[in-house]
Subunit: 496 residues, 2 copies
């Protein structure tokens, strides 16, 4: 009667993204791939926006080459990636044909499982990517981003799961990036999905930041979850994930098992334990942080608002801002507070406290109020929508944001072809499309091969110091762009 | 229908013992006491052998004064201590009258809850201390030390709980010092105790080392556990304990609650977050370690055996020793592998590999085989008992070890009275009795008052470097003494 629980190992993507600023180079991963391939995981998460970005920005690695290498080294594994719906791996909405191309090329290069999500949980921002995955015959995983608000209910999440299933989702992922998913809601949501839709595969992804989410995985499993995400212990905990070996231990003597090979796990652990010191300069300091449960404000958002206030010489007004956040969030229809909405809401809250409520509105907050990021769960405050309309001088939209875009693939091909070092592949066009400022430089240096090969921790630290500005582009503020309605919008924000 | 779960906060004792080598000075605790007193804990663990030792060895604090200060600063709280049964807070068995005196004086100075344990789970080593607590009218908590072996079963633990209840235990503690208690056994043992003995209070104490024990606390609560041990988040995880705030979050939306005051928790957390950097030099490096689940050998024991082998130029034979450990353990009747049995078994395993099986037996292993530490769960191998008898030239005993001791209180009073600086109190006699080599020095310097007041992290680190030998006496090897049968036995061992 033992039920086998699948495990997605995230050490090759989200673990080093969360713990050492996405910096792990391919040379430090290849040595573990055979053991990972043989350990018995359900899938191996190994690709996503931030790792793609880091490849071309810091490591001089071709992210497509990385994918093909993973494919070669892990022939028995399902390779998995995280895909930001209509944003792909970039920071704006892309026209549908670009979405199709990206998915097609990813599948062709070896990707098996596409975890498709949208920060606002707007199904329309996920639909095209889901359809594109279905077309390739690969595994389309529809994603629920978990958050807490007065409007987010178990029933709402179950309904969203249904919308994703209607798109043809092969499985549903419950994604908890802020480690907010307490055990009881984890149980209720998974149980609700199972009870409502029958034997649909449910995957659960939690970060460990609040120290409580291994319990949430236990309750999710008891409720019927099929696959859970963990990371090998030597690259786990803090803002990362629960340790794979702890999951194995957790299920001892229960009616569940992982069937993971313990000797392989030891080898994988030892590999990354040996590799990690090289990246000491990039380590995150947080071990456990439970503030978010009471404040409802993610840690990254809080520190961003604090630094904005300090720049304005108003560091003492953080408490007012924290009280303003829930009001602004409610006016916007309760978007989940994750990148980019956390920064958009937080910045507007700071503006409101410093200059009076909505006296000055950021372009991004206006866009959020006018529908240019998609739909939120709640109705927007009509008075604030009206202010946005007047200040931004544009009309609210109700259509899917990407519907306003015109075909852009041919123009992207044309632009890429003019770049020195571009190799004429569709893959290069996609790299340029998603990272237009970084890609040109990368194309010219690509032939020099990976940087950081064999570097010592000290050399890595020195490099980090030298490139502090550049480093911030990934670990610090990012510029988030939305080109819609004939106008470019951008906001510089701290990453969550 | 909500059930309130009691919480024992361990930050004032076990947390800093596990995380920063027991070094926290009273000056760094007093500031948190009011918030701890008001937060709504079931009890506050604040006293035990290692903190007592550190007080007189490193901090020049009178541990009794510390206890009285806690009593004064936390008038609404149950103060709790950890008591090593017949060993009290020292490293040998004490004659019964000393046990009575210690408990009486502890109660008089303000102790409320006595958690009484024995490393071998021999009820006879706990009985006198339990009776002494009952005589004072304070809370006597009988303790089950949890371990894993072929002989340790849920039924066995339930039976032991019954023996403790027969002694008049006001509650039963399930104590998991190695973070070995997986969720399912936690559930089964607590459920079994509740089902067998009715509404007895069950407390569960887990360390966090393996990353899985917050789940164990959840399952223990589901099985009916009444009180669980946690530590405030800024002094939690790794070889320490699960974070108090994570426990609170874990129970959100369930039928359980802690009723802890969240604002008090924030203040307690911030207090210790501010204090902790001072002790950076003493920080433990372990974040998560799940090896013990497969090897059954605690981390401290393994590193001790490795260093013994290296000293003999046989560092490459660790694998043989690891295979020898289970055999030696079985010969000894499966003692739990905790201090001191882990070191006694480990050292004998090393001897067996290097010199042939039981060709040379340590005095301590002979004592273990002959019953001088008490009874183990299993029968001892009669052939090995015979070897022990011949090598140690003494007979096996079946009586309670302390029954062989003659009254010693008067002699201890006499000896203490001759020490410079001793103040004539019973408390000083007890300090001398338990720490005969450290107490005399402490008595002469006591009037100078606490050391380390207001020191910087750098000053603390410098002091640690300077006193590396002494420091080892608590964080490194200790000498464990048993004076029985007219002979003194001692073994120098690494702490678990």
């Amino acid at each position: 009667m033992t039920r086998t629980i699948g495990v997605t190992e995230v050490v090759l993507r989200d673990a080093h993204q969360s713990l050492i600023a996405i910096r792990m180079a391919m040379e430090d991963m290849v040595g573990a791939c055979e053991d990972i391939d043989q350990a018995g995981y359900w899938s191996v998460e190994c690709w996503g926006g931030a790792t793609y970005d880091a490849c071309i920005r810091y490591l001089n690695e071709d992210p497509w080459e990385r994918l093909r290498t993973f494919r070669k080294l892990m022939p028995n594994s399902r390779l998995q990636m995280l895909l930001r719906g209509q944003n792909l791996l970039g920071y704006r909405h892309y026209e549908d044909m670009v979405v199709d191309k990206f998915v097609e090329k990813s599948a062709e290069n070896g990707m098996d499982v596409f975890r498709v999500f949208d920060a606002l949980n707007d199904p329309r921002n996920m639909a095209r990517a889901m359809a594109a995955v279905k077309k390739t015959g690969k595994h389309a995983q529809g994603t629920i981003c978990y958050t807490i608000s007065p409007l987010h209910t178990t029933e709402g999440y179950i309904k969203l799961a249904g919308q994703l299933l209607d798109m043809g989702a092969d499985s549903i992922a419950l994604k908890d990036m802020a480690a907010l998913l307490a055990p009881q809601p984890a149980y209720d949501i998974v149980k609700g999905i199972k009870d409502t839709y029958g034997d649909v595969q449910v995957n659960v992804h939690c970060h460990a930041t609040t120290g409580v989410t291994l319990v949430s995985l236990m309750k999710a499993i008891e409720a019927g979850a099929d696959v859970v995400d963990t990371s090998i212990s030597s690259m786990s905990l803090g803002p990362g994930h629960n340790p794979t070996e702890s999951l194995v231990a957790m299920l001892q003597g229960t009616e569940y098992t992982t069937n993971l090979d313990p000797e392989r796990l030891v080898r994988i652990r030892d590999h990354f334990a040996a590799v990690r010191p090289k990246y000491k300069a990039f380590e995150s300091a947080t071990l456990v942080d439970t503030d978010i449960f009471s404040s409802q404000i993610p840690g990254g958002m809080l520190s961003n608002m604090e630094s904005q206030l300090k720049q304005q010489g108003a560091g003492d007004r953080i408490k007012e801002v924290m009280e303003e956040v829930p009001l602004v969030k409610a006016d916007a229809g309760h978007p989940p507070l994750v990148t980019p909405s956390s920064q958009i809401v937080g910045t507007q809250a700071v503006f409101n406290v410093l200059m009076g409520r909505y006296k000055v509105m950021t372009g991004e907050f206006a866009d959020l109020m006018l529908g240019y990021y998609g739909e939120c769960i709640g109705e927007r405050n009509p008075e604030v929508v009206e202010i946005a309309r007047q200040q931004a001088k544009k009309e609210p939209i109700t259509v899917r944001p990407a519907d306003l875009l015109t075909p852009e693939w041919d123009a992207l091909v044309e632009a890429t072809s003019k770049l020195e070092g571009a190799n004429g592949s569709d893959e290069d066009v996609l790299t340029y499309a998603m990272f237009p400022t970084v890609a040109p430089g990368f194309f010219t240096t690509r032939d020099e091969g990976p940087k950081n090969v064999g570097k010592t921790p000290e050399q890595m630290a020195a490099e980090m110091d030298a490139a502090k500005g550049a480093s911030k582009a990934v670990t610090g503020p990012i510029t988030y762009k939305v080109s819609l309605g004939g106008r470019d919008h951008s906001v510089t924000v701290e990453r969550a």
